[in-house]
């Protein structure tokens, strides 16, 4: 389960093939691991290391730097309430308190049914719809208590499934293009053209 499945492995190899240096695929593969398991497992980090030519420790060193890469299980929906200045000036901390009450968990917590993890996040670039939030990095706002309750209810009954895939699924559009031309080939072409 935690190493890449056959289908995920072929997607992973495709991603690796896009870059002149396979290690550039480290972060995209961490996202892929999250798409498979909801978070980046130890086994996935080991597998990613094998695919990009790093050690599992190096992959973890990278993964642990980034807020979006979860090294522990999270809910199906990661709800990020922005409290940075533009949202704060329009009531974000009140929304955050409401969210804690509505979901019944403190910031950082996951609901017992495993559906929601609540986060307080930094600016998400949705400041003209402040106070704003993201669910699995899809935007919502402006929010107040009532709208937040509605959002949670809609997520619970599945009416937003099309717009908000489970946590970890980031880019649902696959690359459709010929293979990236290797840099050595481009170097050679350029040398011939005298560029």
């Amino acid at each position: 389960m935690a190493r890449f499945s056959d289908e995920m492995l072929s997607r992973a190899q495709e991603l690796v093939s896009l870059y002149p240096d396979p290690r550039s695929a480290t972060i995209p593969l961490c996202h892929l691991a999250q798409e498979q398991d909801g978070y980046v497992t130890n086994e996935a980090m080991e597998h990613i290391g094998e695919l990009v030519g790093s050690s599992a420790a190096e992959v973890q060193g990278t993964a642990s730097f980034y807020d979006m890469l979860k090294l522990e299980p999270v809910g199906r929906y990661v709800v990020g309430i922005c409290t940075n200045i533009a949202c704060m000036l329009r009531g974000a901390y009140e929304v955050l308190e409401d969210a804690e009450e509505v979901l019944g968990v403190p910031v950082g917590g996951t609901t017992e049914d495993g559906l929601f993890t609540l986060e307080e996040v930094e600016c998400i670039a949705h400041c003209d719809r402040a106070p704003a939030a993201q669910v699995n990095y899809r935007y919502f706002g402006p929010l107040d208590r009532e709208r937040f309750q509605d959002l949670v209810a809609t997520l619970r009954n599945g009416d937003l499934d099309h717009e908000v895939p489970p946590h970890g699924t980031l880019i649902r559009v696959r690359r459709q293009a010929p293979p990236v031309v290797p840099m050595e080939e481009i170097d050679r072409e350029r040398a011939e053209e005298g560029q």
Binding site: D21, C30, N84, M88, V173, P178
Partner: protein, 431 residues
């Protein structure tokens, strides 16, 4: 008539579709570039345009390109890691006009002879990532990307790279580290900027999303037409992101230098002023790294040099408005807390200083402060950025650390009484 360049399609509901793109002049810039112009002619138009980088630093794009080390292999990286608080223009451009971004990136790749282009977008832009991938796919399908673009001798690939949540990766050397699969630690520079030693050690140009989104227009209409807009060094238009306590926050594309902050905040076409019975206490002219502005700065035009001469910066083009119901101590604390959270931790002044300032500001806001804290805060600011002046002195590898003092010192200098009320009454008077 307000000239719109990067935001020309934003009035259309379907601005992100290929149909709308092609019906509104899409591809014309790229076709002209690869079929009728030599790369150096494209670069010359951008130099004539005096296009300033739209990411925050405002460096001339043409000059940046001219500094590229002449090596057989070179890279173009598009910086779409927009994370400066209250900045949301690139979010808009990637989601609502992804084809323009891909076209602009391809033009830039042609001008500098890039071997490969990577568009690095903020991981939190889930929809934007999907739309840009779609635009890339569609560009390959109509030969606007890939081998022999539009039948010319120019070939290039574009790869889309998602970030994973780290403000620091907007800093170009940190972005390159991230793109190499590492933690986003900024590199020491000078002497070697990315144009000399960048991605995989090869010369690399890093351009912002909005910067390259201007290129299709510049190629079509010419650099001189772009330069005819605006004034002095501030040419063309810019997408300003207005947020905070105004009636109508939003993105507004305006010709550089032609309107003032008063127009942007109060004008009928823009912010439409504050909520009823409220008054302005401060605004930030260019992202939270910038020193704050007050009433007396309202009539300064939205221009690079005009704002710099007044002691702040236009930065990322985000204007944040605070009215008299807001607490300046709380606002300054929230900004300091952001930098403390986002410090990469390499340099002591930023890592330790930021964390201290966050804690001290928080205790003042929560009514636990002491009078000596004000001097302590200024002393910490002075240790991060000696002299607490503008532009800031730097004791750190990158400018994240020196971005902490401006808001803290502005708040202490202009709202000292508010701080003292917090300390004396043991509570926030605005809570």
């Amino acid at each position: 008539m307000i000239e719109r360049i990067v935001g020309a399609r934003l009035g259309y509901e379907d601005s992100e579709t290929l149909e709308r793109f092609l019906a509104t002049g899409g591809d014309l810039g790229l076709r002209k570039a690869v079929l009728e112009m030599r790369p150096e002619e494209v670069a010359a138009e951008v130099t004539t345009a005096n296009l300033l980088g739209r990411g925050g630093a405002g460096f001339e794009a043409g000059r940046k390109w001219s500094m590229l080390r002449k090596a057989p292999r070179r890279y173009l990286v598009i910086n779409g890691d927009e994370s400066e608080p209250a900045t949301f223009k690139d979010h808009l451009l990637v989601e609502r006009d992804p084809h323009q971004l891909v076209e602009g990136a391809t033009i830039a790749a042609y001008a500098i002879g890039a071997s490969l282009v990577v568009i690095y977008l903020r991981g939190e832009f889930a929809l934007g990532l999907e739309r840009v991938q779609q635009a890339i796919n569609e560009a390959y399908a109509r030969n606007a990307l890939g081998r022999s673009i539009f039948g010319s001798s120019f070939s290039v690939d574009i790869v889309l790279q998602p970030g994973a949540g780290a403000y620091i990766c907007g800093e170009e050397t940190s972005l390159i580290e991230s793109l190499e699969g590492k933690r986003g630690f900024p590199r020491i520079k000078p002497p070697y900027f990315p144009a000399v030693i960048g991605l995989y050690g090869e010369p690399t140009i890093v351009n912002n999303v909005e910067t390259v989104s201007n290129l299709p227009w510049i190629v079509q209409k010419g650099g001189a037409a772009f330069k005819a807009l605006g004034q002095g060094r501030s040419t063309g238009t810019r997408l300003f992101a207005l947020s905070g306590q105004v009636k109508r926050p939003g993105p507004y594309e305006v010709e550089m230098t032609k309107i003032t902050f008063r127009d942007l905040i109060y004008g009928d076409d823009y912010g439409q002023g504050l909520l009823p019975d409220r008054s302005l206490i401060a605004f930030i002219p260019g992202g939270v790294s910038a020193p704050w502005f007050f009433d007396e700065h309202l009539d300064i035009p939205l221009g690079q040099d005009e704002v710099a001469q007044a002691g702040s910066m236009l930065g990322s083009g985000s204007v944040i408005v605070m009215d008299d119901t807001s607490c300046p101590v709380r606002s300054a604390w929230r900004i300091a807390r952001f930098f403390a959270r986002e410090s990469c931790g390499q340099c002591t002044p930023c890592r330790e200083g930021g964390a201290w300032i966050d804690k001290i500001m928080r205790r003042i806001e929560e009514g636990e402060g002491r009078e000596a804290d004000l001097d302590l805060l200024l002393d910490l600011c002075d240790n991060i950025s000696p002299g607490i002046k503008w532009p800031p002195a730097q004791t750190t590898i990158c400018v994240l650390g020196p971005s902490i003092p401006p808001s803290v010192s502005a708040a202490i200098n202009h709202f000292r009484d508010d701080f003292l009320v917090h300390i004396k009454e043991g509570r926030c008077p605005h809570a």
